[in-house]
């Protein structure tokens, strides 16, 4: 079968859509991280706006609710001077039976320049990217279980901020990995940036063996998974995605896989604790840890705005 060119890159290898971290060259990732550093400084200025996306219309298309992610994209777009339109799809024409592609076509007719899309189905942003006009860019804000590339980028930005050298790190990702688009994006980013040891930690029902194909070590024992880790990424236990008997209870999960101070002590003494949010206190993470000295959960949010500004400005400047 013919392998099509990665739809995210133009013929010059420049990023025109951000759909997944998988398949992006290391240089592209590094450039976005470096650019994010610039925007982080911008966000400390009194005037936090730069005119890079002035005159552009950014449409937030969230087929799946998320006030947090949508808000950070909106802030990022506005700081780039873009016009932002938020579309609450659940209550709009799609609910009346309009197909995804018809929705996109209608919005494109309103001169949308960029779509930020969150959808419950893996792969939906690819379908959209295939059908938009050449000058329109698509950013995936999360598709099903497949990818959440801006989260992956801000996670590695956070790790770079605190740890500097990726090639010496042990990173543990803990929790509901099989349903997690964040985990998949993190794994792709970490492997591309050269992290030598990535552990996927959780029970067999949530951490399938064929994850090893993505370049991780599967650990079903929490202690073994956490031991000596430099970075621990805790994932939210996704109740709404679980169907049919994957876990007996949140309580039992916390007992085996929740991050408590005792378990954290098994990691390196300067380990950082991350979480994509929102956190479930007492389910995957103990309050003492979430609020403790190792936690960088709040800085992640700050970095997230800068990373999204970097992604949008990088993409907007490249032609299809």
């Amino acid at each position: 079968m013919l392998m099509r060119r990665n739809p995210q890159l133009n013929a010059h290898g420049e990023l025109i859509h951000l759909l997944s971290i998988e398949g992006l060259p290391r240089a592209v990732l590094t450039q976005i991280l470096d650019t994010a550093g610039t925007f982080l400084s911008v966000n400390d200025r009194d005037v936090k706006k730069v005119p890079l996306l002035r005159g552009k219309s950014v449409f937030n298309l969230f087929f799946e609710n998320s006030t947090r992610t949508r808000t950070t994209f909106e802030i990022a777009a506005k700081r780039l001077s873009a016009d932002v339109i938020n579309l609450d799809i659940a209550r709009s024409s799609t609910a009346k039976g309009e197909s995804l592609l018809d929705t996109i076509a209608n919005l494109s007719a309103m001169h949308a320049d960029m779509f930020i899309v969150r959808h419950a189905e893996s792969g939906a942003p690819y379908l959209i990217a295939q059908h938009v006009a050449p000058h329109v860019h698509v950013i995936n804000a999360g598709d099903g279980r497949h990818a959440h590339p801006t989260q992956g980028l801000l996670d590695v930005y956070t790790i770079r901020h605190y740890k500097r050298d990726f090639t010496q790190l042990t990173v543990a990702i803990v929790g509901d990995i099989v349903h997690s688009r964040v985990a998949r994006s993190d794994i792709h980013a970490l492997t591309t940036l050269g992290v030598p040891e990535i552990r996927a930690v959780g029970p067999k029902t949530l951490v399938p063996g064929d994850l090893a194909g993505m370049g991780v070590r599967v650990c079903h024992d929490m202690a073994e998974g956490i031991r000596g880790a430099d970075v621990i990424i805790m994932l939210r236990l996704q109740n709404e995605r679980m169907s049919g008997a994957m876990l007996p209870s949140a309580g039992e999960f916390f007992k085996s896989y929740g991050l408590t101070p005792e378990k954290l002590a098994l990691a390196k003494s300067d380990a950082i604790v991350m979480h994509p949010g929102p956190i479930n206190r007492g389910v995957e993470i103990d309050s003492a840890v979430a609020d403790g000295a190792h936690s960088v959960i709040l800085p992640q949010v700050t970095f997230g705005i800068a990373v999204r500004m970097a992604v949008m400005s990088t993409i907007a400047g490249n032609q299809a």
Binding site: M1, L2, M3, R4, P7, E22, S99, L100, L101, H119, E121, S122, G123, A124, Y126, L127, D143, G144, R145, H146, A147, V178, R181, R184, P208, D210, L211, G213, M214, G244
Partner: protein, 434 residues
């Protein structure tokens, strides 16, 4: 009309015939085969350089009628069959309404007969509305023309009902056509494995097939029912099939052109044309299916044709309707498989002519003795094709209304071997290439 098919290479796997000779056709039958037959035809079909094979018998093709009459589905899909050299096809009962009433079956057969393009042999629903609860009137459905009974893709989860259905069918010697897929384990949009995990698609594990096969084989053993297994997809399933046949269970099986040629890697960037049931599995599974089709453990190759509409396909992968067009690709994909596997032409043809007829058995009635073979006195259902020609699959030029196929040249970059030049059904030219 009296037709002379002149100078073609007749390849008939059933009789072992492989020779250049003429065929005289009259009154819907083959009246003579030989070199220089004494016959005054109304028309001569020049078959020089072509293979003359029995008309193809496709054990799985969806016509979407009843249900989409207003779109002229029967007309277009039977035209597609004829363009693909298919002279007899079996269609599953998952129509709208479901084929669980004799009247619906009669109407379908009647409409198909009037079109004179391809013989249609419907499968009746095994349970009412395919709901897996109450049995259908199998005897009456058979009288109306059903050649067997099927659940299409709706698994029966109640094992007691399944056993009773098999027992009842066994009473009359009806064949039950079932896709081995456990109702609960079998939910998912792609095959479980590294690709599905990477793409974040819900996976169907192999055990969905093997658990269902284990249940079916046990029930066949105790009921004696004849079962035809539809669309095997895994190496493990193939292994179980071989064991079942070895101990003499009355089972047959088929595989689709899709599973025979493609794997989960072909999903690529969530290509909805790869959204298929059963889902595409891994390379080792494909290899096992090919080997089983080669040695006859799997009896037949089917197109699994389904003319899915554009609107239903251009959706995110998990929401896209599964299925692909296939009637016009069956011959070429059988030839390609045989070429890839180093098998003779006769084998490629056997799996789409003689062997499917064998699977249908008595259900074909009087046709059983001549369908799927080229014999004097038999029905003139013939497929004339150019084995040396290659063609690039261009969906918009297919006769079928289903334009979605994983084998489009734009996707594969590969031309397919074998081009149908003419198809005869009951001695009438049902299709002729321009």
């Amino acid at each position: 009309m009296k037709i002379l098919i002149h100078g073609g290479r007749i390849v008939c796997p059933a009789t072992g015939r492989d020779e250049v000779a003429d065929i005289a056709v009259a009154s819907g039958r083959i009246v003579a085969i030989g070199k220089g037959v004494d016959f005054t035809p109304d028309r001569v079909l020049n078959a020089t350089g072509l293979v003359v094979a029995p008309g193809l018998v496709d054990l799985a093709a969806r016509l979407r009628e009843p249900g989409q009459e207003h779109e002229g589905m029967l007309e277009s899909e039977l035209a597609a069959a004829a363009a693909g050299g298919v002279t007899s096809l079996v269609c599953p009962p998952d129509t709208d309404p479901v084929l669980d009433e004799p009247g619906l079956v009669e109407m379908l057969k009647f409409r198909a007969r009037k079109l004179s393009r391809c013989r249609v042999f419907p499968l009746g629903a095994l349970t009412r509305r395919l709901e897996g609860a109450a049995l259908t009137e199998m005897a009456q459905l058979t009288e109306a023309g059903c050649v067997g009974f099927s659940q299409a893709d709706a698994a029966i989860t109640d094992t007691l009902v399944l056993q009773r259905a098999l027992q009842y069918a066994a009473t009359f010697g009806y064949t039950v056509w079932l896709r081995p897929n456990d109702g609960w384990l079998g939910q998912g949009v792609a095959a479980q494995g590294a690709v599905a995990t990477r793409l974040g698609l819900s996976g169907v594990p192999v055990v969905a097939e093997t658990v269902a096969l284990a249940t079916l084989f046990e029930l066949v053993r105790v009921t004696g029912a004849r079962v035809h297994l539809c669309r095997l997809s895994s190496a493990a399933g193939v292994a179980m099939l071989r064991t079942a046949k070895a101990v003499g269970l009355p089972v047959t099986a088929d595989v689709s052109i899709n599973s025979l040629h493609l794997t989960d890697v072909d999903i690529g960037y969530f290509n909805p044309d790869m959204r298929l049931v059963p889902p595409l599995r891994q390379g080792a599974d494909r290899d096992a299916l090919r080997a089983a089709l080669a040695d006859g453990s799997i009896d037949a190759l089917v197109s699994d044709h389904d003319p899915v509409a554009n609107d239903a396909k251009q959706l995110p992968f998990g929401e896209a309707e599964p299925g692909a067009t296939g009637l016009e690709l069956l011959l070429s994909l059988s030839l390609r498989w045989a070429q890839d596997s180093g098998l003779p032409l006769a084998t490629a043809l056997a799996r789409i002519t003689h062997d499917p007829v064998r699977v249908l058995g008595d259900a074909l009635g009087s046709l059983a003795s001549s369908a799927g073979r080229v014999v004097e006195g038999g029905v003139a259902d013939l497929c004339l094709f150019d084995p040396a020609a290659e063609w690039a699959v261009a969906p918009e030029r297919l006769a079928s209304q289903g334009k979605h196929t994983p084998f489009a040249f734009a996707s594969t970059g590969m031309a397919l071997p074998g081009r149908v030049r003419a198809t005869l059904v009951a001695g009438t030219v049902a299709y002729e290439a321009a």
